[in-house]
Amino acid sequence: MTQAPYIEEYTIQAGDFTAIGEAATRFKSTLKMLGISSEAVRRAAVVAYEGEMNALIHGGGGTVKMTIHGDHLVIEVTDNGPGIPDISLAMQEGYSTAPDEIRELGFGAGMGLPNIDRNSDSMTIDTEIGKGTTLRAVIRFSPREAAARAV
């Protein structure tokens, strides 16, 4: 019998740079309490943080949701922003549409999506121009860990 997944969700307010990283920090603490390996925790924190940044910079706010299953977790970032016109372009390192005021803060270097991709086992992006974007990243717990836990 598998249990229902554990879900944790945070809302990102438009323009609230001070709260950035909060979801990542909370997810990290949750995963540590569950005894997830530090490597998976690190990857989840990176994905959540970059997701928060994206939703804030491009999406005008949104939600970050983590769903933990028995052998993997899913991080979903949803915003109601303008959508991504060309995903393959957005996936290129260094490509960014962040406005100047964001770049002046030291963000928007065009590393967000590539970084999420690098730190997750699979990633999908659903986007519709004018409606918004939902990013879904899956992080699997290491097989060694899953085996140890199954006992």
Binding site: T2, Q3, P5, Y6, G21, A24, T25, T30, K32, M33, L34, G35, S38, E39, V41, R42, A45, V46, Y49, E50, I68, G70, N115, R149
Partner: protein, 439 residues
């Protein structure tokens, strides 16, 4: 296992100041007394700073006992040599100590710090992976990484603390096997001697604070002339302010290096967080110190950190060792005495359960408990936050009524029930008719 922090129970009034100051939430107040969770404590000394009743101190050994021994050998932290105006040069301090019959090893320490910087420079030059590297020097930062940022452990340079290496050099020069006392500016370095990271056993036997020894010297009003004692290098003294170590290391690198030096716990935590999120590309070396301005801001120091800082900023020094010193350093470098013996282990937090499903169930329970708490993190329950109380409850280390708001709710419910019950009467009694008197 004795840590670097000690509580004087008679002075602790059970307030919530220290609970909130702890960066790793390692403090609880139970039955009116401060308690430290040893597995979470990084010996940073924030609780010492926060304690208004001065009940929390550096856990040091008995200085009167140590100095009454036949021979007292001190390995003093660089801060020790810049703290007291009359003795603010290593050779002046040496003279002062000698006149009280104490031995120090400043000249060996100077080489040990050169060696540590040289070793770090070599690792940084050759290392391709794990950049930026992280300094090993501040033991509180090391423990913080072990507990909160285990993913960063591989970036820590495997260089022994020069405070240990200095003792190795001194033993090799003198052939002595006598006990050595560390003069420490902070609780973290006290722990270095008692419970070292990266080596099985410390070469330091006892610990006493910088402030204790300097007070003693000043009380004796020892006069120094500075005559007849060889000048001792000064580079290593700069390790006691933020950025000194980086400066020393980069002197050994032809192309220099790109480094970030921060001090204070908040800066340290923020920087490590950014590093963890992969935001620090192009940086070679990171130097973090848990105390403001560096080790001179430690809770076991004597002088104002601002004055010490001023003195060190104005200290003129040659950053590169002389030719003959360099030969000694290279020789010791080849022998590898600077290298940490064992890898630095992760200190995993105990999960809610070893079984993931069970842990998830407990986490849900914790969320439910947390939802019912007032979320004002008042500390009256003895925990740093409502979330910490909820966690303690699901771990079986507390109950909901530890929260005074929950307690009040329960009392209010109970009093309502008492009121309700008191209005009920047994059937044998008529509600209005008076009972006949027994008389």
């Amino acid at each position: 296992m004795a840590g670097g922090v000690k509580v004087k129970e008679s002075r602790c009034r059970g307030c919530a100041n220290c609970i909130k100051s702890c960066p790793t939430e390692a403090i609880r107040v139970i039955d009116g007394l401060m308690r430290i969770i040893p597995d979470l404590c990084i010996d940073c000394g924030e609780c010492i700073r926060s304690c208004e009743g001065k009940a929390i101190t550096v856990n040091e050994d008995e200085w009167d006992l140590i100095k009454s021994r036949e021979e007292t050998i001190l390995m003093a932290d660089p801060t020790f040599y810049v703290q007291a105006a009359p003795y603010s040069r290593p050779r002046l301090m040496k003279e002062a100590l000698e006149s009280l019959g104490l031995t120090d090893m400043a000249e060996h320490a100077a080489i040990a710090f050169d060696l540590a910087a040289y070793a770090a420079a070599n690792l940084i030059r050759e290392g391709t992976e794990h950049r930026p590297f992280i300094s090993t020097y501040c033991p509180a930062v090391l423990r913080l990484i072990q507990i909160n940022f285990p993913e960063l452990i591989e970036r820590i340079l495997p260089v022994e603390s020069p405070l240990e290496t200095a003792v190795t050099l001194w033993r090799s020069a003198t052939g002595s096997k006598k006990n050595v006392t560390l003069v420490s500016p902070c609780p973290a370095k006290a722990t270095l001697a008692r419970n070292p990271v990266g080596r099985a056993k410390s070469s330091l036997s006892y610990v006493v604070s910088v402030s204790k020894v300097i007070r003693d010297l000043l009380a004796h009003n020892v006069k120094v002339t500075g005559e007849g004692i060889k000048t001792i290098g000064r580079r290593w003294l700069l390790w006691s302010i933020s950025g000194g170590e980086s400066r020393h290391i980069s002197a050994f690198l032809d192309k220099g290096m790109t480094s970030i030096s921060v001090s204070g716990l908040r800066n340290t935590m923020d920087l490590l967080k950014e590093l963890e999120l992969g935001r620090l590309d192009g940086i070679d070396f990171i130097e973090c110190r848990a105390c403001d301005l560096g080790c001179i801001g430690g809770t076991g120091t004597y002088e104002s950190r601002f004055l010490s800082h001023l003195r060190l900023e104005n200290l003129e020094t040659e950053w590169l060792p002389a030719q003959e010193e360099m030969e000694v350093i290279r020789e010791w470098h080849e022998k590898g005495i600077w290298r940490l013996d064992t890898p630095i282990p992760v200190k995993e937090r105990l999960p809610l359960s070893q079984n993931l499903e069970e842990a998830m169930a407990k986490l849900r329970e914790m969320d439910t408990i947390y939802a019912g708490l007032p979320h004002i993190d008042c500390g009256a329950c003895g925990r740093p936050s409502c979330r910490a109380l909820a966690e303690d409850i699901v771990r079986g280390q507390g109950e909901e009524t530890d929260c005074i708001f929950k307690l009040r709710e329960r009392i209010s419910l109970l009093s309502g029930e008492i009121h309700d019950l008191s209005s009920r009467l047994p059937h044998t009694i008529h509600p209005t008719k008076k009972r006949r008197s027994m008389a």
